[in-house]
């Protein structure tokens, strides 16, 4: 049996396989080079960048809950300029596509970030409009279709690169947001971001996070993410990148069958840095077992009759 085709096209972005590593869970790539062959990945979504470096939230920044992790990192990052100088040259040597996640506090800041990143040789931009940790930015843009579209438009007008918008699950109608950002020019949507959450230490009667609240990620999110992906692929004909609690090939396959064209591995990178590599191999084996020659035969193949 010949080699199966894993290549997918998301708008204008072509990936050698549909498996990426999610923003914030893989640093700037170099942290994992001793443990993971970056050439095998479909894409690396870099830790969210802002115009200026950002310090982040006071610790503690992490708390584990059953099958999940709540984080309140606070978007700490080295800023776009240092990323371009210090991190990007290293990342470029690998076959994985480089997708840079960005966030700002105004449409102008998003536009500036897009403009600065455009000529640097990266492959795509992922726009964070949904980070729940920041009061002044992020989340507010992502909860309203008009502002979500405004940010998307600001980015698209200032770059030739493919643009993906990362959606928050904390909205009443995710289809409306997805539709708005697509009409504003996005190549696709990444979904979902973390779910706002908190945890309390009953002995000290204090919150377990320095920031009080954070974003929940990990395996406990998977059923929720899958349902939201389903809502969007059912209603709209757009490329969806499925994210949320994927820890193994079976999880990834659920998203692909539901209709996601690609997926991102997040929290599972911490648990097993090899997760993405194992997921790619697992998808290939599954296709071979089903005697499918192309991943597109699988994507959106959800059978609704019982």
């Amino acid at each position: 049996m010949g080699e199966v085709n894993l290549q997918v096209k998301l708008g204008r972005l072509v990936l050698q396989n549909p498996v990426m590593v999610a923003s914030g869970t893989f640093g700037y790539g170099e942290e994992y080079t001793q443990l993971v062959d970056l050439n095998q990945l479909g894409g690396i979504v870099v830790k969210g960048l802002s115009l200026k470096p950002k310090v982040g939230n006071p610790p503690p920044r992490l708390v584990e809950v059953p099958c999940g992790l709540i984080n309140a990192i606070g978007l700490e990052n080295i800023g776009v300029e240092r990323f371009i100088k210090e991190k990007l040259p290293f990342l470029k040597q690998f076959k994985a596509k480089i997708i840079v996640n960005i966030f700002g506090y105004s449409p102008e800041e998003y536009a500036q970030l897009a403009e600065i990143l455009s000529p640097t040789g990266i492959d795509a931009i992922e726009v964070n409009i949904s980070c729940p940790n920041i009061k002044e930015g992020g989340r507010l843009f992502g909860t309203d279709p008009q502002t979500a579209a405004l940010i998307t438009k600001s980015v698209c007008e200032h770059t030739h690169l493919p643009v993906f918008v990362k959606l928050s699950p904390q909205v009443t109608d995710i289809v409306a947001i997805a539709k708005a950002v697509m009409e504003a020019g996005a190549d696709g949507v990444s979904m979902i971001n973390t779910i706002p959450a908190m945890a309390v230490d009953i002995h000290t009667r204090r919150p377990k996070l320095g920031n009080v609240t954070g974003g929940l990620s990990g395996p406990c999110l998977k059923p929720i993410a899958l349902k939201l992906v389903w809502e969007v692929v059912k209603a709209l004909d757009i490329p969806v990148i499925g994210i949320g609690g994927i820890t193994c090939a079976e999880d990834a396959l659920e998203f692909l069958i539901t209709g996601a064209k690609a997926i991102q591995i997040g929290t599972a990178n911490f648990v097993n840095p090899q997760t993405a590599i194992e997921v790619i191999a697992g998808i290939r084996h599954y296709l071979e077992d089903c005697q499918l020659k192309d991943i597109h035969e699988l994507i959106g193949s959800l059978e609704l009759s019982f």
């Binding site: 640093g27 443990l35 830790k47 610790p59 992490l62 992790l69 700490e76 990178n269 911490f270």
Partner: protein, 259 residues
């Protein structure tokens, strides 16, 4: 930094009534054993299930040949599950991670431990012995520990002094009181310490007054252990630093101790 499937070769449980309970877990882990330095740590996966989810960080307590050992107490779900591991159990380990202790010339060196904080210092003590550097290891505990554990420790080094808060073993009092007492006899070139934050804070206040360099090994909740998630930061004089990658050992004067 390596991902290695290690095998448990020995698991000893030091459990007696009205005492602090410790567990000594030894793995055959040749690749990590060949590289690890005192003060470095590993992240181990509790199992293949999703709860507990994240790897757990542990300082290396001992390294000999192709083996590494951890000395731990049960503090939650993960460590509770670990106590059930028997010889032959395979465990996925990521390590060695972080920056260990920095050797300072001259002697004597003092090693000051609180509770499970003895782990990285015992490994350091081994290397100091091999380098013929004279040192003292002071270990503070709340209550006594099993004699078998003391016997195990003393079999490897004889200059161990124990302090318990209730006086049920060794001297009664805090280990920091032991430090002040010992300072009437000799002056250390450097102090290495690991233990609860109040102990480290008190020790730093004293070393600052006495102008003695102090290196501390810090604990933090971690997700990745390799500097990617930015979850384990500590506030320093030059901003937040990552305990996993910039530490876990820091010069105490770098840390912002005030709360």
């Amino acid at each position: 930094m390596i991902l290695e499937t290690a095998r448990v070769i020995e698991h000893r449980h030091f459990i007696i009534p009205q005492a602090e309970h410790f567990h000594l877990l030894t793995f055959l882990s040749p690749e990590i054993a060949a590289q690890v330095k005192p003060g470095q740590f590993i992240m181990l996966r509790i199992g293949t299930q999703l709860d507990p989810l994240l790897r757990r960080p542990f300082s290396i307590f001992w390294q000999e040949g192709k083996t590494i050992s951890l000395l731990y107490k049960v503090i939650g779900k993960g460590t509770h599950l670990m106590t059930q591991w028997r010889a032959g159990q395979e465990v996925n380990i990521l390590g060695p991670l972080g920056q260990g202790f920095t050797f300072i010339s001259g002697s004597p060196h003092w090693l000051v431990a609180g509770g499970t904080g003895i782990a990285p210092l015992f490994f350091l003590a081994k290397q100091l012995s091999q380098k013929n550097i004279s040192f003292q290891l002071l270990w503070g505990l709340r209550y006594r520990v099993a004699q078998e554990l003391i016997a195990f420790l003393k079999q490897h080094l004889d200059n161990l002094t124990i302090y318990t808060e209730d006086g049920s073993l060794g001297y009664q009092g805090l280990v920091t009181e032991g430090v002040e007492h010992l300072s009437q006899q000799e002056r250390p070139q450097v102090i290495y310490a690991c233990g609860p934050m109040p102990m480290l804070r008190a020790l730093y206040a004293w070393t600052k007054k006495e102008n003695i360099p102090l290196q501390v090994s810090l604990e933090a909740h971690m997700a990745c252990g390799v500097g990617a998630c930015l979850g384990c930061v500590v506030e320093t004089t030059s901003g937040y630093k990552k305990v996993c990658q910039d530490g876990p050992v820091f010069n105490a004067e770098e840390i912002k101790w005030e709360k």
